[in-house]
Assembly symmetry: C2
Homo-oligomer: 199 residues x 2
């Protein structure tokens, strides 16, 4: 399969690249330092990237920035940034990207454990995760041509515990190699409208 | 209690007004035809309304417009409209509104059955509902002064079946009088971070 991997150089993305790269042709995309420049917050940049690399068999997003602050410190700009990136950025990637997928192709987005297990500072991430999961269930019943769409919901990454550990005490950290299995399950399986939790 | 009810003249809002109005002082707010003008998509309008009516014991949102189209017909503007109204409109109402609540006050937002039971045309509604439910869980653990926040998730309204019936075949319609109980449960109960499903 020919797979576009957005956020290929993040912690999750590197794990996904190691897993899916064993069996498929990956095109790495991201805001900087990637083969293809793609900024989720910019629809034009998404379209330009897709024009460059399509047609595709799968699109995987392991990206999605959000504001990370105490609830009452999150400004309207922080909320807009979170919505534009992890939430609507991934939605626009899916809706633009489906046009570049071959029949039966798949889209895999990223949500996260904060959807229903909140921590302080994480309200914008929680909101984005909840929106993404509901979106993939809804989109799955309307996508044409046998296209599939799922989300992977990782727990806190073992590789991120140096920086995020204090926020996630008591959570069981997950290595990126195991999180990557959720993406393989979505891309190489046959299900649609699912959220694969790797937590 | 002194309660601000946003969307007081919609189908759900009228049911909530009938239920809570029996025991509490209600202030009806909405985009038009209400005692207080409040447009969820406009933060300044939210703040002006709160300045006019505060302090409050509870804020209830029975409002939230979304785009309603086949998935692939939803334009970027449709998505932005849905996010600005039902999703971030309610979030901004909560975050601005908490400043006007007396200690121990409550905020009640509205999600809906489409979060996990999608129907065609409903993808933007699903996304907003998923975001709202995750937000209330996250906000609940960070709100100060004993403030509470919940969501009510109504099924399809019996009173809306004339227009929405064709989209909701097989769903069990819920009368607004019963949906209103979810709001009473949130406002007059003691729980926080909950989603009260009335479906």
């Amino acid at each position: 399969m020919k797979i576009l991997l957005v956020g290929a150089h993040g912690t999750v993305g590197r794990g996904v690249a190691a897993e899916l790269g064993q069996r498929h042709e990956l095109i790495d995309a991201g805001r900087k330092g990637a083969s293809v420049t793609l900024d989720l917050a910019d629809r034009d940049s998404i379209r330009r990237a897709l024009d460059k690399v399509g047609p595709l068999d799968a699109i995987v997003s392991a990206a999605g920035l959000v504001g990370w602050k105490p609830l009452l410190d999150l400004t309207p700009d922080d909320w807009a940034y979170s919505v534009a990136n992890k939430l609507m950025g991934q939605v626009h990637l899916a809706l633009l990207g489906q046009q570049y997928l071959r029949d039966g192709g798949s889209i895999t987005l990223t949500s996260g454990v904060l959807r229903d297990q909140p921590v302080p500072y994480g309200a914008a991430a929680s909101l984005a995760n909840g929106g993404i999961e509901a979106f993939v269930r809804a989109a799955a019943i309307e996508l044409p041509r046998g296209l599939r769409i799922n989300a992977v919901s990782p727990g806190v990454l073992l590789e991120s515990m140096d920086s995020l550990g204090p926020f996630f005490r008591g959570f069981d950290p997950v290595p990126a190699t195991r999180v990557a299995l959720g993406y393989a399950r979505s891309v190489e399986g046959a299900e649609t409208g699912r959220v694969f939790e790797v937590q």
